[in-house]
């Protein structure tokens, strides 16, 4: 026995803790996005890299400015601002003027997160708040899509990227419609294999279905995402568009096309599963996912825009508190006939 009593602490049990921490979960999201990000840069060249960097900068700078003095560096280390900036960047067109991408990052964190009280308190997904702001404010720039660049064009930066703030932007001579746009306005279907690999025009992180699914699998394996949400969204989209296809196979997209076109996979795997803005209860996750799936198909088919994933998720975000309230789990021993 030691001569002196150690100064005993009275820390209350449990003293054991599993290994996962919130910053680690955020880092996992970033790791899982590495292939998608690299593919985006590969497809759309240096422009894509610039857009990503600038939107991340906008997000992290805003986080830093609005954090309390003692928390300034800490709040950057939890990596949530980095995730938001990166996710926002991945939803933007590669030819977007850089100042808009920066502003998007500022709005995503400022209006998407800080004004709600910071991490964990926001109702809407911050990256999508940033994107919704950009789409409402700069509709032309946000729907001007550049084609996939060839090898020579890799180091070419689009003239539109370097446009001065609030000046008139001359649209790029080389634009092309997204697969969803092509389908909606020209009734032209893009081959599924292109959608799967990602060499189509679109937002810079949404095109490769394969890499997005891989990222999702990694997050599922790390238990960072609630599998019920992607499962229910994808299932609803497949079933809903499959039923529509029974009525008119010409007019409505096939289920497979619906799955791999546009921002569905990016939104499903990375935005809808944002734990803060999705229901906490297992039953709630199913309802949330089905709601998103239905809204996506409704907006895409009958809406004025070719794409609807963003609004579908934001609308269901708004319903999350209500869903939580009505889907509390049945407490052990309180079920009607559980035993």
């Amino acid at each position: 026995m030691n001569a002196k009593d150690p100064e005993l602490l009275l820390e209350h049990a449990p003293l054991l803790q599993q290994g996962m921490s919130t910053p680690q979960a955020m880092r996992d999201v970033i790791y899982s996005l590495v292939p998608v990000t690299l593919a985006g840069i590969w497809f759309f060249g240096l422009s894509a890299l610039l857009v990503l960097v600038v939107s991340i900068l906008g997000a992290m700078l805003t986080e830093w400015v609005f954090s309390s003095a003692e928390n300034k560096t800490e709040s950057l280390w939890d990596a949530s601002a980095l995730v938001t900036g990166l996710l926002l960047g991945l939803t933007l067109p590669p030819g977007l003027p850089l100042w808009m991408a920066f502003l998007g990052g500022v709005v995503a964190i400022g209006f998407g997160k800080i004004i709600w009280g910071g991490l964990g308190n926001n109702l809407f997904n911050p990256a999508l708040v940033g994107r919704a702001f950009l789409l409402a404010t700069f509709p032309i720039a946000m729907t001007t899509w550049n084609p996939v660049s060839d090898v020579d064009g890799f180091f070419m930066v689009h003239a539109t990227n370097l446009a001065l703030p609030f000046m008139h932007v001359e649209p790029d001579a080389m634009t092309s419609a997204t697969p969803l746009g092509l389908f909606k306005f020209e009734q032209e279907a893009t081959p599924i294999i292109n959608l799967f690999l990602g060499n189509t025009s679109g937002s810079l992180g949404e095109t490769s279905g394969l890499l997005l699914l891989l990222g999702g699998l990694y997050l599922w394996w790390r238990r960072d995402l609630d599998w019920r949400i992607p499962a229910s969204i994808l299932l609803t989209v497949v079933v809903f568009s499959g039923i529509l296809g029974l009525f008119d196979a010409e007019r409505f997209p096939t289920p497979l096309f619906s799955l791999f076109s546009g921002g569905l996979l990016l939104g499903t795997i990375y935005m809808a599963t944002d734990p803060v803005t999705s229901p906490i209860t297992p039953k709630g996750a199913w309802i949330f996912g089905c709601g998103i799936g239905c809204l996506v198909v409704l907006i895409r088919v009958w809406g004025g825009l070719p794409e609807g994933v963003m609004y579908a998720i934001l609308l269901m975000n708004a319903a999350t508190p209500l869903i939580n309230r009505y889907t509390q789990p049945t407490v052990f021993g309180r079920g009607k006939e559980r035993s």
């Binding site: 803790q17 996962m20 079920g335």
Partner: protein, 446 residues
């Protein structure tokens, strides 16, 4: 039904902490030497404290009654040593509070051998006489809750017990006291179980042991004779497998309704140590005066499984185990998931002390807390299907009454939520605060 039940029997939800039993699982039980002074708190059981029947200066023999039951939900106390009553008064309990206790000075000239008591003719006892005898023996649930065992045996009119469930899950990390008991005294365990089974009129004895104790399972299997109404069930290793309602769910797939007891689903659950104590009393006439304690954890020099007379100061046990290392920061009574911090090492081992664990900074320092990101890990960990994130948020806001609407009183404080939280929020601690407030206000007239 959870489809996983097809692969392994288990309750739903729960967590998988590291087992951490390697330090002591192969160490045979060892008797600690007698020390100079013993402290017997009168309230070692749930319910009413016992009532002292001794005077200062009175000489007592080992095993002699020193305090009697004050009510039905109360039990007796016996002297753990031969010696003299030195003081009756208030002493510090392990949690730092003063509690009434009897201090006994051991007689240094007494041999302290256990008197061979008289076996009790249990076959002929009526159920009421049997319950009285169990109360006379001072036996309580020795898994940690210390609920008087005889109360569990009092089955109200119209209810019937079909299964006697012996709980050898020992799901708390580090603890190996039940493990060693099953390996070293399987015959007594089966004997005690048989006594209880016959007296309660149960059809079958079911022994549940987590699969991470293969030696215990083998030892018991070896002693169960074919044709015995005994079934041994190896259990999936998951915390809190040893929680009464969870082990019932695992083995019988029955859910004890909230606010009710195992007997409402025709089951009676007892810890293995409790059953061995019953065998000790009816076969050897020895009341509950000692128990097995695992002394372990990274802060202990020589971890051990010890047979300890009740009332032995924690300090003496630690001394026997080579003392605490310099890095020790905290000593816990019980397991690391549900145990409670010890405020003073002079406090004694009582009937409910299953382990003494010493921890260093690696375990006691909490990770930096982050805001709740509603990830739902606590919801998927809670074996009682509560919403711990919501409860913690309400407790922080001091909206304790609102917590009742979320069934906070069904929480058994197993700690799965805090274990699972990636943001390192002290969820179960916050819930405890709320429960304490609600309970205190209910008990205090306005």
């Amino acid at each position: 039904m959870n489809p996983l039940r097809l692969f392994h029997k288990s309750f739903d939800h729960g967590v998988h902490p590291a087992h951490l039993k390697e330090q002591t699982c192969d160490l045979p039980m060892q008797r600690v030497p007698f020390v100079k002074e013993y402290l017997m708190p009168l309230g070692q059981n749930l319910g009413a404290p016992s009532k002292s029947i001794v005077q200062i200066g009175q000489r007592v023999r080992k095993g002699e009654l020193i305090a009697e039951a004050a009510a039905f939900v109360s039990t007796t106390l016996h002297s753990p040593v031969t010696g003299t009553i030195k003081e009756i008064g208030d002493f510090r309990n392990f949690d730092g509070n003063f509690v009434p206790a009897i201090k006994i000075e051991a007689d240094i000239y007494a041999t302290q051998q256990s008197d061979a008591g008289n076996p009790i003719e249990w076959q002929s006892l009526s159920i009421d006489e049997f319950i009285q005898e169990v109360q006379n023996a001072g036996i309580v649930g020795m898994g940690g809750a210390a609920f008087p065992t005889h109360v569990k045996f009092a089955i109200p009119e119209g209810k019937k017990i079909r299964y006697l469930l012996i709980n050898g899950a020992e799901c708390e990390p580090y603890l190996t006291n039940d493990h060693r008991l099953m390996i070293e005294r399987p015959e007594d365990l089966l004997m005690g179980a048989e006594i209880v089974r016959q007296k309660l009129g149960a059809e079958e004895t079911v022994i549940g042991v987590e699969k991470n104790k293969p030696e215990a399972i083998a030892a018991l299997r070896q002693h169960i004779k074919p044709g015995d109404p005994v079934r041994l069930v190896p259990l999936h290793v998951k915390y809190p497998q040893g929680a009464e309602k969870m082990i019932i769910k695992t083995i019988f797939n029955r859910e004890v309704p909230a606010g009710q007891l195992p007997r409402d689903v025709e089951v009676n659950v007892n810890n293995v140590s409790t059953v061995v104590a019953i065998a000790d009393y009816f076969e050897r006439g020895r009341p509950l005066i000692e128990r097995i304690v695992t002394v372990s954890g990274p802060g202990i020099t020589y971890p051990a499984n010890l047979i300890v007379p009740l009332g032995t100061p924690v300090r003496e046990l630690l001394r026997f185990c080579g003392g605490l290392t310099d890095a020790t920061q905290e000593v816990i009574m019980g397991g690391p998931m549900m145990g409670r911090p010890i405020a003073t090492l002079d406090s004694p081992i009582t009937k409910g002390s299953s382990g003494i664990l010493a921890f260093t900074a690696a375990e006691t320092s909490r990770r930096k807390e982050y805001p709740c990101i509603s990830c739902g890990r606590c919801v998927e960990a809670c074996p009682y299907f509560l919403n711990p994130a919501r409860l913690a948020r309400l407790s922080r806001a001091r909206l304790f009454d609102e917590m009742v609407n979320y069934n906070v009183m069904d929480c058994v404080e197993c700690g799965c939520c805090t274990f699972a939280c990636p943001s390192a929020i002290p969820i179960v601690q916050l819930i405890r605060t709320g429960k304490d407030d609600l309970r205190t206000r209910k008990e205090t007239p306005a």
